[in-house]
């Protein structure tokens, strides 16, 4: 069996090399049949990689510990779902997954990417082939998932904290996002190589970009949820380098998604868009590299392996290749339309882009700071959460405001009088919300008050957009209000799906602000029988229970909870000890209030032998809006992704118009 896996990967490597070389030759010499053969090689590479993946899955399912990988990541009593999820639990499997997703998505994108034009497509194949060759090389030469050994009696088991349903979904979602960003990059490179600097590569990859971006976004939220429930320190995001690793490409991709709309509509920002797609892809490679190389100290331990050098070299190659192409094709990328006004839809998109990219680069700077400071000053220095929070505020608040302004402002140039009329309602809503919140005591955090006032403004502008559109549809003859609403969304899925995503971001902001700036934290050491308060809650420590489960010893502190004197029942918080893995994990108690979205979050920080427990209690208002935001985000992404022939025709006609206007 391992021989089959190894052989399949060698075949995959051969095929990706062929796709790169033959594809490049075919595109250069304009050989149709050779191009087709290279395209088929990409598909065959996917099939070969799938065979290798099948071998690994089978080995995991059979607990075949003669596979070093299986022995290192699982044990025989691990439940099946977690055993299979070990596919992406270790380095070799993760790289195999990269290759699998890349060849699969690549082959599909090429098969469905005819809209990009035949000449562009011919170049996309060798570009994707080149990236796939890198990953195939890694799994064949550097980190083979099929290394074998004399089978030990038992595997090393899986880290306790990873035995969580969210951890089954989180890594593959991120990989789909990371790898997915390779598609628009490859099409952009294909367009430059073919000297076709028009909008077709953007139109052809719009859905791939959106899907990759949505996966990356959802993947991060799933990771945050996991951290919140499983890691249990009372938070969900900590500016850790690996968290930043996923955030950076998402920010770059968010900027890209917005700026391509300007290029589609007005033919502007062509160079900028190529820069953004290069940035997004390079950052997703950098993200994989960060999580895999251990170059930056993070709470996640990654010792330095040989893989670091490979990744740095490859990222450098990708950047050099992209920038070389960009500079040599600059004359073709020059746009003929210019910005007409600093107060216009496209201008707000540009501000949004600058803020997103600036935020992305400040994070990158923070992540690289220890390495750079060591190289320059010989002393490693790190930036703390204060650094990231400062820029999160400085760039986040204007971004939030723009989310309300952008949709309401006219393209090209907006008159100030029209602006006043348009913003009357949202401004009114913002002021009203601010006054009400101040009366409710939200002034305890001025920053929170500002953010919430901005949020009300954005919410009002989104509602206004939907209301106006629905009214217009009704006037155009929709029989009922719901029908008018449905027609509105169906006729412009991209725009209104986008607004739904904006609403999700708003929920996220409200949840993050509420749970961080307005949280209550209390710490106290209690003996059984004693009680403590946190906010409106009273917690009475009743007893300490010990019990054995299938693979762990569980210790639980039982607490009676009441709120404002009303009994809310009991909760249990404590620790699990896993003897095989020799690990302990915090098992926190979380009591959610379905009406207010508030959580009571209780950690048994330290349990002394005499029964004294050091409790850490958080009251986190509105925190559940963060998870609801995830659902709304998925909904909005689906609306924008849903196939829409009408819109496709409209896009095609528009880019045709732009092209003929330039010719």
């Amino acid at each position: 069996m391992p021989e089959l896996g190894r052989a399949a990967l060698v075949v995959a490597l051969g095929l990706t090399v062929y796709a790169t070389l033959a594809g490049g030759l075919a595109a250069r010499r304009r050989r149709r049949r050779l191009a087709l053969s290279a395209q088929n090689a990409l598909l065959a590479a996917f099939a070969a990689t799938a065979v290798a993946a099948g071998v690994l899955v089978a080995a995991l399912a059979r607990h075949d510990f003669s596979f070093v990988y299986v022995a290192q990541t699982t044990s025989s009593d691990l439940p099946l779902a977690y055993t299979l999820s070990a596919f992406w639990g270790g380095q070799e499997g993760s790289l195999l997954l990269w290759l699998l997703v890349l060849t699969g998505l690549g082959a599909a994108a090429v098969a469905f990417g005819r809209r990009a034009g035949q000449d562009v497509l011919a170049w996309v194949v060798p570009v994707i082939g080149g990236v796939a060759t890198f990953f195939a090389l890694l799994v064949v030469v550097v980190e083979s998932p099929f290394a074998t050994q004399v089978a030990p009696a038992e595997g090393a088991g899986m880290t306790a904290s990873l035995q969580n349903p969210y951890m089954i979904a989180h890594p593959p979602l991120l990989y789909l996002g990371y790898v997915g960003l390779a598609i628009p990059w490859a099409f952009a490179m294909g367009a430059l190589l073919a000297r076709r600097a028009d909008e077709r590569w953007i139109v052809a990859t719009r859905r791939w970009t959106l899907a990759a971006w949505a996966f990356l976004g959802v993947g991060q939220l799933v990771g945050a949820k996991w951290a919140y429930e499983e890691v249990g320190w009372g938070g969900y995001f900590a500016w850790d380098p690996v968290e930043n690793a996923a955030l950076m490409p998402w920010l770059a991709a968010t900027a890209f998604l917005h700026s391509v709309m300007i290029q589609e509509k007005r033919g502007m920002l062509r160079v900028w868009n190529v820069v953004l797609v290069v940035l997004a892809f390079a950052l997703s490679l950098f993200g994989t590299f960060l999580t895999r190389s251990g170059i930056v100290a993070s709470i996640h331990a990654f010792a330095q392996g040989p893989i670091g050098v490979w990744f740095v070299t490859f990222i450098a190659l990708v950047l050099a290749f992209s920038l070389y192409l960009l500079f040599t094709r600059l004359p073709q990328l020059r746009s003929r339309t210019r910005f007409e006004s600093l107060v216009s839809r496209e201008a707000t998109f540009l501000y949004n882009n600058l803020l997103l990219v600036a935020f992305c680069l400040t994070i990158l700077w923070g992540v690289l700071f220890p390495i750079l400071s060591e190289a320059i000053r010989g002393e490693q220095r790190t930036v703390g959460p204060g650094y990231y929070n400062f820029f999160f505020k400085s760039f986040g608040l204007p971004l939030l405001l723009l989310m309300g302004i952008g949709p309401l402002i006219a393209w090209r140039r907006a008159s100030l009088r029209a602006l006043g009329r348009t913003f009357l309602w949202p401004l009114g809503a913002a002021i009203a919300a601010g006054v009400v919140l101040l009366a409710l005591g939200a002034g305890s955090s001025p920053l929170g008050l500002i953010a919430y006032t901005f949020s009300a403004f954005v919410l009002a502008s989104i509602v206004l957009e939907f209301a106006r559109g629905t009214r217009a549809r009704r006037a155009l003859g929709a029989p009922t209000w719901p029908a008018a609403f449905a027609q509105l969304v169906a006729h412009n899925r991209r725009r209104y799906g986008g607004y739904v995503v904006h609403a999700a971001v708003l929920l996220l902001v409200i949840g993050v602000i509420g749970s961080s700036l307005y949280q209550t934290v209390r710490e106290e050491a209690l003996r059984p029988g004693q009680a403590m308060t946190a906010g409106e809650y009273t917690l009475a420590y009743r007893s300490l229970d010990e019990r054995d489960s299938q693979n762990a010893q569980e210790v639980r502190a039982v607490l009676d909870v009441s709120r404002n004197g009303r009994n809310l029942g009991t909760i249990e918080t404590g620790k699990n000890t896993y003897p095989i893995e020799q690990q302990t994990s915090n098992e926190v108690a979380i009591r959610s209030d379905p009406l207010t979205g508030e959580d009571l979050f209780v950690i048994a920080d330290q349990i002394d032998p005499d029964g004294t427990v050091y409790f850490k209690v958080f009251v986190k208002p509105l925190v559940n809006l963060i998870w609801i935001a995830g659902l709304v985000f998925v909904l909005g992404s689906l609306v924008t992704l849903w196939p829409d022939p009408r819109e496709a025709r409209r896009l095609a006609a528009r880019s045709e118009r732009l092209r003929s206007a330039e010719a």
């Binding site: 290192q72 270790g90 993760s94 400071s373 790190t382």
Partner: protein, 124 residues
């Protein structure tokens, strides 16, 4: 224009990092001598770990080396904390003992299932 705006924004955060001094030196026990003020200390825990209520006393050694320093710390401790683990914490040297800031101790996850290389499923 885009390039200029980006450059301006970059300048802002470069200024922030150099002037606001939001950075902390990250050192190992062997580099601790002569450091004034708050630093981030990284090292390997050497037992025994003495516990007294919320206060821990232990020794930190260079991850690859022999220099050591005594550490006093109180506050949250990860489940993963124990001798031979790599940890880092913020604090300052006082009379030869490194006094950690409350709740600043971070224990790196053990590389349990790929002993010599990186692990983790990329839990961001």
């Amino acid at each position: 224009m885009i390039a200029l705006s980006v450059a301006a924004l970059l300048a802002v955060f470069l200024l922030y990092t150099s002037i606001a001094g939001g950075t902390t030196a990250s050192v190992q026990p062997s580099q601790l001598a002569g450091k004034v003020g708050t630093v981030q200390l990284a090292g390997k825990v050497v037992g025994p770990v003495e516990r007294e209520g919320r206060t821990l006393r232990f020794t930190l050694r260079d991850v690859e080396g022999t220099a050591t320093v005594r550490v006093v710390y109180s506050g949250s401790v990860s489940d993963q904390f124990r001798p031979s683990r790599d940890v880092y914490l913020r604090g300052r040297l006082a009379n030869g003992v490194f006094v950690g800031e409350k709740d600043s101790l971070v224990t790196k996850c053990p590389s349990k299932y790929v002993p010599k290389k990186g692990t983790d499923s990329g839990s961001a």
